[in-house]
């Protein structure tokens, strides 16, 4: 069973068609790069696979869950259980410390706070974020917020890791290290990774490239 399966998916914002009849799969253990120029529908595709957006037409199945038929609460549970999400600017919860931001997926999943925070500290160390765990997101640089978002995405061991420009705020060396950690950790656990990026060095990390153009799949090529 594919980890992600999109079949004939379309989505529009008002009169702007973001995706038109897109079909694709991501297999277990596979790393897929979704690339294309600005406005081609990359981020929309990622948000649909994450269950943040609901497709207006077509079918989306992720880790066995039919997202098109799921209500908001079910999709939120699915995200917490199966998906790690890294976005370009971190998108941390501003009122929570860095440690609690990273621990959040475990806390919401019912883990004991002491265990969740210990796990968060471990992941903060692994991503190389050298700040006090009680620091608030407002006091982090863009790159530090992105590292924290990486730790948060990995803490619950997601079956699907979705990353939108995951290294955009980091220098080349730190970006490569975070990308290696995101990909290696997820794939070694049997999970799949979808990378959305303008950065060719990020795309080259994938096993397959899916290229979007004007909301449709322009090509798919194997890279490994």
């Amino acid at each position: 069973m594919s980890t992600v399966e999109l079949s004939g998916v379309s989505h529009a914002y008002g009169r702007t068609q973001a995706l038109s009849d897109v079909s694709m799969t991501v297999e277990p253990g596979e790393v897929v790069a979704v690339t294309g120029p600005s406005g081609c529908g990359k981020s929309t595709l990622l948000m649909l696979a994450a269950g943040v957006l609901r497709a207006q037409s077509g079918r989306i199945t992720v880790a066995g869950t039919d997202l098109a038929g799921a209500d908001d609460a079910s999709r939120a549970r699915f995200r917490r259980r199966e998906v790690g999400l890294v976005l370009q600017f971190g998108q941390l919860v501003p009122d929570l410390s860095v440690r609690d931001n990273v621990a959040l997926p475990l806390l919401l999943g019912g883990h004991r706070p002491v265990e969740a925070r210990a796990a968060a500290d471990g992941w903060l160390e692994r991503v190389g974020l050298d700040v006090e765990p009680d620091t608030l997101p407002a006091d982090l640089s863009g790159g530090q917020a992105q590292l924290a978002a990486g730790a948060r995405a990995l803490v619950a061991g997601p079956r699907l890791l979705l990353a939108d420009e995951p290294t955009a705020s980091l220098d080349a060396t730190s970006g490569r290290a975070l990308l290696d950690l995101l990909v290696t950790t997820t794939v070694q656990a049997g999970g799949s990774v979808v990378l959305v990026s303008h950065d060719n060095a990020v795309a080259a990390r994938a096993d397959r490239e899916i290229r979007l153009r004007r909301g449709t799949v322009a090509h798919q090529v194997a890279l490994s």
């Binding site: 120029p37 080349a172 490569r176 060719n200 060095a201 795309a203 080259a204 990390r205 994938a206 490239e209 290229r211 153009r213 004007r214 449709t216 322009a218 090509h219 090529v221 194997a222 890279l223 490994s224």
Partner: protein
């Protein structure tokens, strides 16, 4: 890259024979085409003729006779002058990828397939380079990063080229036999 001046740089550390120079070159640029021996010996002969290098020793060491070359004062000055000038920015449009992309744009022959194949080839090469250790020191790593940056620049340029293309729906398929004579 000027091979003449590069040979001067390869000789700058110590006198070397041709085999040494080839080995040194290939360790400096592990990701590029190995330097052919014929190129090394032809370049050394030219350097000697022009007074930029001189023969300082002939070694036998139980194997074939090897001629050891060293920089002359003129050779060292030429090397310093070469390194004092910035490299000319490229952009003459003579590279194969430019020739092919422009040809695809003009002919319309399998545009989508060309872009897919070219992107895949470049991304695979970046992937290979990222997956193997760049070498022992910072200089080897810099050579590696330069190559990756160059491949990345090609891909960004190709993206610009594809933005100029019509969408798959309205893209005309122009075959050579359909072109009107000029």
């Amino acid at each position: 890259m000027s091979l003449t001046e590069l040979h001067l740089a390869l000789l700058a550390g110590a006198p070397r024979h041709g085999y040494d120079i080839k080995q040194e070159h290939d360790s400096w640029f592990p990701d590029t085409r190995p330097l052919p021996y014929g190129q090394v010996y032809a370049t050394l002969a030219r350097l000697q003729r022009d007074g930029l290098a001189e023969v300082v020793e002939t070694r036998v060491d139980g194997g074939p006779e090897r001629t050891v070359y060293a920089l002359t004062a003129d050779g060292a000055a030429r090397l310093r002058a070469w390194l004092a000038e910035p490299a000319a920015p490229t952009g003459a449009g003579a590279e194969e990828i430019v020739r092919k992309t422009v040809s695809v744009l003009h002919t319309g022959i399998d545009v989508g397939g060309f872009v897919a194949r070219q992107r895949a080839a470049h991304l695979r090469r970046i992937r290979e380079l990222q997956a193997t250790p760049p070498g022992a020191g910072p200089a080897e790593r810099l050579v590696r990063e330069h190559l990756i940056a160059h491949l990345d620049a090609d891909l960004r340029w190709l993206e610009l080229a594809t933005e100029l293309l019509p969408s798959p729906d309205d893209q005309p398929t122009v075959r050579p036999d359909e072109r009107k004579p000029a």
